[in-house]
C-alpha cells in the first residue's frame, strides 16, 4: 500500500481513530498495531508478511540470547551470529542474483562460460530498511545500551507501518522508550503532522513526477542530448530524488506524529551542504547515522592510523552504496562519496596541521550523538549555514556538483550509461533547454535556503488555525495535487531498496 493512494487513506482513516480508542489498553493497542502493520505490508504481497514475521521472531530470539550471555566474549559471538543471520537473509533476497551475475562475468573473462543457478526471488519491499532496524536492536542489546523488550513491543517496533517500507531508519533505542509510556492524545503535534503530510504529498506526487519526465529523457537517451540539456537533466534528477524521498519521509513522520510517535528527521536542506561530510549530515540522516554508529565505528572508526580511518570511511560508503542496490552503479556511487569524504578528511587534517585554529569546513560529527527528533524542543533543523563570504558559496556549488556526479551513477542503468551522460556534459555543447524547467529547478534550489525558523513560524501559525481553516488549507493542497499530479502513482525510488 503506497502512502499517496486512496486505499491507504481509507486504511489510515480506520487505524488512526481505533489506535487512539485502544490507547488506554496498552496490550490491545500493541496487538492491533501489529495486525494493522501486517495488513499494510501484506497488501503488496502476502508472502512478504512471512518474512517480516520471521525477522521479528528471529531477532527477538537473538536479542534474548545475546542478553543472557555470561560474558563479553559470549555476547560478541552471539551478536556476530545475529548480524550474520540478518545479513545472510538480506544477501539472499537482494544480492544473490548480483553475485551470480558478477561471478559469471568474472568466470567469462577467464573463458569459463556458465551462470550460477539462482532461483527467482522477488525482492521484498523495504527489506533493507527493516533489516537495518532489526540490526540496530540486536547490536544495541549486544552493546548493552538497551535490554531486550517484550516480544509484542519488538513486534510493534519492527513492523510499525509508517517507517516499515522506506524509513526513516528509526533505532530501537529511539522508538522503544516512546512505546513504554502511553501516548497522550492531548499532546499530539497534529499541526506539524498535517503540515508534513500535505508538504510530503505535494513533493512526492507533483514535484517529483514533473522532474522525472525531464530526467528520464536524458538518462534514457543520453546520446540524443547536448551538454547543457544533459546537465539540466542531471539537476532534475537531483531534485527528483530529493522530492521523492523527502516527500515520502515527511509523510512517514507526519503519520507517526498522528499516532503519537516522534521520528528523527531525515533531511535538512541537503543541497545547501558545504562539504560531503555536511551533505551526509543533511541527506538520509538516519541512514548515515546508522552507517556511522554500526558500521564505521564497528570497523574501528577513527581510532587508529589515518590510513585505517580512510579505509573505514571508504568501506562504509562502499557498503552504503551497495545497500541501495545490487548493481555496480551503486558501488560507484558509494566509492565516489567515500573517496570524496577521504579527500575532505585528508585536506582538513592538512589545514588543521598548518592552522591549528581549525578549518572552516568539515568539523567531524560527534560519534554517537543523539538524533534530533522532529517536533521536540531540542530539534533544530539547521537549514543552510549562514553565508560567510563568497568562499562558502564556492563550497556549496562544488559540493552540489560532486553530489550530482554521484547521482549520475545512482540513476544510470549501467556504469557505461553513466559515463555516457558525463561524456555528453563535458564534451558536447548545446542542447535545447526548457526554461520553465530551469525556473522550477532554480526555485527548488533557492528553497534549500529558506530559513528554518521562517518555516517553523508558518507551521506554528498553521497549528493555531481552526479546524475549518486547517481543513480548508489541506483540501486546497489535495485539489492542487489532484490537478497537477500525473494520472496514477509514480513508483517511489527508494522502494527498490
Amino acid at each position: 500500500m503506497l502512502f499517496p493512494t486512496i486505499r491507504f487513506a481509507i486504511f489510515f482513516a480506520i487505524v488512526l481513530p481505533v489506535s487512539w480508542l485502544l490507547m488506554p489498553r496498552p496490550l490491545r493497542w500493541r496487538v492491533f498495531m501489529v495486525a494493522a502493520s501486517f495488513v499494510f505490508y501484506g497488501a503488496w504481497n502476502r508472502n512478504y508478511t512471512l518474512l517480516l514475521a520471521a525477522s521479528i521472531v528471529g531477532n527477538q530470539f537473538f536479542a534474548n540470547l545475546i542478553h543472557r550471555a555470561r560474558d563479553d566474549r559470549g555476547r560478541q559471538v552471539r551478536m556476530a551470529i545475529a548480524i550474520a543471520a540478518n545479513v545472510a537473509v538480506l544477501g539472499w533476497f537482494k544480492y544473490a542474483g548480483f553475485l551470480a551475475d558478477t561471478t559469471s562475468s568474472a568466470l567469462g573473462w577467464l573463458g569459463i562460460h556458465s551462470r550460477l543457478p539462482v532461483p527467482n526471488v522477488l525482492l521484498p519491499i523495504g527489506i533493507s530498511f527493516f533489516t537495518f532496524q532489526a540490526l540496530s536492536y540486536v547490536i544495541d542489546v549486544g552493546r548493552q545500551r538497551i535490554k531486550p523488550v517484550r516480544f509484542v513491543d519488538f513486534a510493534v517496533y519492527l513492523s510499525f507501518f509508517p517507517h516499515l517500507v522506506a524509513g526513516p531508519i528509526v533505532r530501537a533505542s529511539e522508538f522503544l522508550p516512546q512505546l513504554r509510556h502511553r501516548r497522550d492524545p492531548r499532546r499530539v503535534d497534529a499541526g506539524l503532522a498535517l503540515w508534513l503530510l500535505a508538504a510530503g504529498l505535494f513533493k512526492k506526487v507533483v514535484v517529483s513526477s514533473y522532474l522525472a519526465t525531464a530526467a528520464n529523457r536524458v538518462f534514457d537517451f543520453p546520446h540524443q542530448h547536448g551538454g547543457l540539456d544533459a546537465l539540466v537533466g542531471v539537476y532534475a534528477y537531483a531534485f527528483q530524488i530529493y522530492a521523492d524521498f523527502s516527500g515520502y519521509t515527511d509523510m512517514a513522520i507526519g503519520l507517526a506524529l498522528l499516532l503519537g510517535f516522534r521520528f528523527p528527521a531525515n533531511f535538512d536542506a541537503p543541497y545547501s551542504a558545504t562539504s560531503l561530510q555536511d551533505f551526509w549530515r543533511r541527506w538520509h540522516v538516519t541512514l548515515s547515522r546508522w552507517l556511522r554508529d554500526y558500521l564505521y565505528i564497528g570497523l574501528g572508526g577513527n581510532r587508529g592510523t589515518k590510513w585505517r580511518t580512510y579505509r573505514n570511511v571508504m568501506l562504509t560508503m562502499l557498503l552504503g552504496g551497495l545497500w541501495h542496490g545490487a548493481a555496480w552503479t551503486f558501488v560507484c556511487w558509494g566509492a565516489l562519496h567515500g573517496g570524496g569524504l577521504v579527500i575532505e578528511r585528508w585536506w582538513r587534517e592538512r589545514r588543521t596541521a598548518r592552522h591549528p585554529a581549525g578549518a572552516l569546513v568539515g568539523v567531524p560529527a560527534v560519534e554517537g550523538a543523539p538524533a534530533p527528533y522532529v517536533g521536540t524542543p531540542q530539534f533544530e533543523i539547521h537549514g543552510a549555514a549562514p553565508a560567510r563570504g563568497g568562499r562558502v558559496w564556492v563550497h556549496r556549488i562544488a559540493t552540489f556538483h560532486v553530489v550530482c556526479l554521484g547521482w549520475i551513477f545512482f540513476r544510470a542503468a549501467t556504469v557505461h550509461d553513466a559515463f555516457t551522460v558525463i561524456d555528453r556534459i563535458v564534451f558536447h555543447r548545446g542542447g535545447g533547454v526548457d526554461l520553465r524547467l530551469v525556473a522550477v529547478l532554480g526555485g527548488l534550489f533557492a528553497a534549500q535556503y529558506v530559513p528554518a525558523d521562517a518555516v517553523g513560524r508558518v507551521q506554528a501559525a498553521f497549528s493555531r488555525w481552526s479546524i475549518a481553516a486547517q481543513a480548508g488549507a489541506l483540501t486546497s493542497v489535495l485539489v492542487a495535487i489532484d490537478v497537477l499530479g500525473p494520472p496514477g502513482i509514480a513508483p517511489f525510488i527508494y522502494f527498490q531498496f
Binding site: 486512496i6 567469462g108 546520446h223 494520472p487
Partner: protein, 323 residues
C-alpha cells in the same frame, strides 16, 4: 492539538476533498481491473460525483484543471469507434484504412532532417527503447522519442485511450517510424464498442483485441506514410499472460501480413527456450550466458533488450537507407 481535533480535521478534509475531486475519484474507480473492487468503488464514487456536480462542488477543480491545461483525458474514435466524451481528440485520420501495397521510396535521413523514430507503448517498451538508443548512439541521422505509459494497454481505453494518446503524439512529433509494444497489461477481459463484456480468452475477446491492434496500426501507419514495427511478446513466466500473448502476437502478425509497411518482430524464437517456452537466460554464440529477463518474468532485462535492438534496427533501417 488533541488527537480528536486532528481526526476531526482529517475527516473534514477527506469529505470536502472527496466532493471537490469527485470526478477524479470516479475516474480512478473506473480504471480498476474489472471485478468486485471496481464495482464497489464505482457504487461509491458515481453518486458522490452526481451530488458534487449537482451542487457545483466539482467546478473549482475543473476550473483549475482548465487553467493549467493539466487534465487531458481525451478519447478518440479509434479503439472504441462509438465513444463520445466531452473531450474528444480528432484522431489523426489515416488516408486509407488499409494501406494498399506501395513501393514508395523512403527518404534518406540526414543530420538536418533526421529519421524520427517514436517508440510507444506500455512499460515493455522502456528497456527496449533504451537499448535502441544505445545502439543508435549519437548518430545525428536518427532522432528518438518515447511515449511510455506504464500500466496501460489496448484493453482498457478508460485507463488510457491509446487511440487518443497516439493521435496526439503523432500529430505533435510526426515520426517516420513508429515502434509499438503492447500486451503486458492486456490479459484481462474487455468491453467492445457496444459495451458488451467479453471474457478473457473468449472468441469475442480475441476478435475485439485483433480489431484494436489493426486500428492502432492503421493510425500509426497513416496509409503507409510511416513504417510501423510491432514488437511481439516473448514467452512470459506468468501463465495467464503467457497464454494471452499468443492472441496478441497473432493479432499483430495478421495486421502486419496485410500491410506492407507494418512489420511484426516475433520475440518467441528470439527469447524462448528450445520448446518456445519461458527462459531467464540465453547462451550467446560465444558461449556466455546472459540474463535476458527481469525478475518479474515479463520485462526484458537491459541485456535482453540490447540483444533485441539490432533486430529492431534491421526491421526498419534498410528501408530508410541507414546502414
Amino acid at each position: 492539538m488533541p488527537a480528536g481535533r486532528a481526526i476531526a480535521t482529517l475527516f473534514l478534509t477527506f469529505v470536502v476533498a472527496s466532493l471537490l475531486c469527485s470526478e477524479s475519484l470516479e475516474r480512478i474507480a473506473q480504471r480498476q481491473p474489472y471485478g468486485t473492487t471496481r464495482d464497489i468503488a464505482l457504487a461509491v464514487t458515481k453518486p458522490l460525483h452526481r451530488v458534487a456536480h449537482t451542487f457545483f462542488l466539482d467546478r473549482p477543480r475543473q476550473w483549475l484543471a482548465d487553467v493549467t491545461g493539466n487534465d487531458r483525458q481525451p478519447v478518440a474514435n479509434v479503439l472504441l469507434p462509438t465513444a463520445t466524451t466531452a473531450t474528444t481528440v480528432p484522431a489523426v485520420t489515416p488516408t486509407s484504412q488499409v494501406a494498399t501495397p506501395t513501393t514508395a521510396a523512403r527518404r534518406t535521413p540526414t543530420p538536418d532532417a533526421p529519421l524520427k523514430v517514436l517508440m510507444a507503448g506500455d512499460s515493455l517498451i522502456g528497456n527496449i527503447s533504451q537499448a535502441v538508443g544505445l545502439l543508435v548512439g549519437d548518430d545525428p541521422r536518427v532522432a528518438l522519442k518515447t511515449d511510455v505509459q506504464v500500466g496501460t494497454g489496448l484493453s482498457r481505453p478508460d485507463v488510457l485511450d491509446w487511440g487518443a494518446e497516439l493521435s496526439y503524439v503523432l500529430d505533435k512529433q510526426d515520426p517516420d517510424v513508429v515502434i509499438l509494444s503492447f500486451g503486458a497489461n492486456d490479459d484481462q477481459p474487455l468491453r467492445d464498442p457496444s459495451g458488451a463484456f467479453l471474457p478473457l480468452f473468449s472468441d469475442g475477446w480475441a476478435k475485439e483485441y485483433a480489431r484494436r491492434v489493426g486500428a492502432i496500426v492503421d493510425l500509426a501507419s497513416d496509409g503507409g506514410r510511416r513504417t510501423v514495427i510491432w514488437v511481439g511478446l516473448a514467452p512470459e513466466r506468468p501463465d495467464r499472460l503467457n497464454q494471452a500473448k499468443d492472441t496478441f502476437n497473432a493479432a499483430a502478425r495478421d495486421a502486419a501480413a496485410t500491410r506492407t509497411d507494418v512489420h511484426f518482430v516475433d520475440l518467441v524464437p528470439l527469447f524462448g527456450d528450445v520448446g518456445g517456452g519461458y527462459t531467464d537466460t540465453l547462451t550467446k554464440p560465444d558461449g556466455s550466458v546472459v540474463v535476458v529477463r527481469e525478475s518479474d518474468g515479463v520485462h526484458l532485462s537491459h541485456d535482453g533488450a540490447n540483444l533485441l535492438a539490432p533486430t529492431l534496427w534491421q526491421s526498419f533501417a534498410p528501408e530508410w537507407h541507414l546502414a
